[in-house]
């Protein structure tokens, strides 16, 4: 029992450091594509330390301060529902459906906080964030449910164990994997869907008024959510890994593929991004669902 509780405490910390490593690696890789050296690997950690060590801070009201707290809290909660190789975590209490539901609380928290800041850029950013979420949730849910039909259970831990030994869903259900990849890619806010924090159009959207400690919290939440999204994709489609090291390596693989796309694309307009999500990824996910449904019968 004590082992269980210890892992529950250490998972968010692990998620934070893995997230920092993934973000640092991403910045280094983007720099190499730009033909330059780029920051050291632990640069996101330095940024967070600098932000948290800001001497003074401004506040636009209580909800403004609680926004980032809610964002980080929801991120930690979501991490606990994500199984790690060898540990069940909280999966008995909440399966795929609950996980998809909890994943949304984080950005709602940020939206409430940023809405309080009164800066028009922030409110445009929130409107974009929520509409984009409408976009990428649809293929994500269809892809998730395809797996539920295939395995007959919604328990994330079982997804991991059933895929062990190299028959990953990436090979068995390629179409659903592609749809799932594009959806997680949109959830991460990578380049074609970089619409929420577009610096040139809405001056980093919801985070326009956040600075200092608030932004430090948001960066912590962002690091953890990078771990969550890549981990979620790895569990669904890449078989989760026997021990924690292969799990992280697979996440690294996902980040590498995502960054290759990220540095090449310009940005969608928000309505075109949602229209894109509801056209191609949803179609691919539906075809994948059909295959599993007919095949399974």
């Amino acid at each position: 029992m004590v082992k269980e509780i210890l892992t529950l405490i250490f998972t968010p910390i692990l998620a934070f450091f893995v997230g920092i490593f993934l973000l640092g690696f991403k910045r280094k890789m983007v720099a190499r594509i730009h033909r330059r050296y780029g920051p050291p690997l632990h640069q996101p950690l330095l940024d967070i330390i600098k932000l948290l060590s800001k001497k003074e801070n401004i506040s636009h009201g209580v909800m403004f301060d609680l926004g980032p707290v809610m964002y980080v809290g929801a991120a930690i909660l979501t991490v606990l529902f994500l199984p790690i190789p060898g540990f069940k975590q909280l999966t008995p209490f909440g399966d795929l459906i609950a996980f998809l539901y909890i994943m949304v609380i984080g950005s709602l928290g940020m939206a409430l906080g940023a809405g309080e800041s009164g800066n028009p850029n922030a409110s445009i950013g929130i409107a974009r964030a929520l509409t984009l979420m409408l976009g990428y949730e649809l293929p994500l849910i269809i892809a998730g449910n395809t797996l539920v039909i295939k395995y007959g259970t919604t328990d994330l831990y079982k997804f991991m164990t059933l895929q062990s030994g190299f028959h990953w869903n990436l090979f068995l259900l390629p179409l659903t994997a592609i749809a799932g990849f594009i959806a997680t890619y949109g959830a991460m806010g990578e380049h074609p869907f970089d619409v929420v924090v577009a610096p040139q159009e809405v001056a980093t959207g919801p985070m326009v008024e956040y600075g200092g400690k608030h932004l430090g919290l948001l960066m912590i939440g962002m690091a953890i959510s990078t771990y969550i999204e890549t981990g979620f994709f790895v569990i669904l489609f890449l078989g989760g890994g026997a021990n924690i090291l292969t799990f992280i390596l697979k996440q690294l693989g996902v980040i590498i593929v995502m960054t290759l796309f990220d540095t090449v694309f310009p940005r969608f307009r928000i309505e075109n991004a949602v229209r894109y999500f509801w056209r191609w990824p949803t179609l691919i996910a539906l075809v994948g669902l059909l295959i599993v449904y007919i095949g399974g019968k």
Binding site: G38, Q43, K50, S53, I58, V208, L215
Partner: protein, 173 residues
Amino acid sequence: MELQETLEEGYVEILDHLRKRSLWMLHYCTACGAIELPPTITSRFDAERFGIAPFVTSRQSDILLVTGYINIKTLRRLITVYEQMLPPKYVIGFGSCTINGGIYWDSYAIVKRLDLYLPVDVYIAGCMPTPMAVLEGFRTLMKLIDEGKANGWKKYQENYEYYKENQRKVLKW
């Protein structure tokens, strides 16, 4: 109490050492020196090796680069932007226009001395300093932060009235 001081001292020491490695500069091209900023940020001179990256809003950034001459209209926006930034914040003055008006000494629209209106931590020489000089200016600022000497923002808070008086004289608020 003795231990508490040394701990406090040590903590600030380490913090300054870590803080200097991640400085965010505000992407605000106030004047002609701003054309040497993209080469400093992008692949050729790559300021991101030192953790220096351009950021969009004043809330998020620490360094305010005053890249050259200061028009009165820009000065009013500069002061608002400076006061929006969160301390500890630093101001870097580019070129001779921020020291003594530079080549526009006789223009009716250009303010001559930046440090009358904003506390300046580092000046970079050059009538438009080259990217190498800009990187050298950033490294000097990092050294100042490391030694705990870069506290222009404290000076601004302490004699706030002096700065406001100078600003009011020029801007006729």
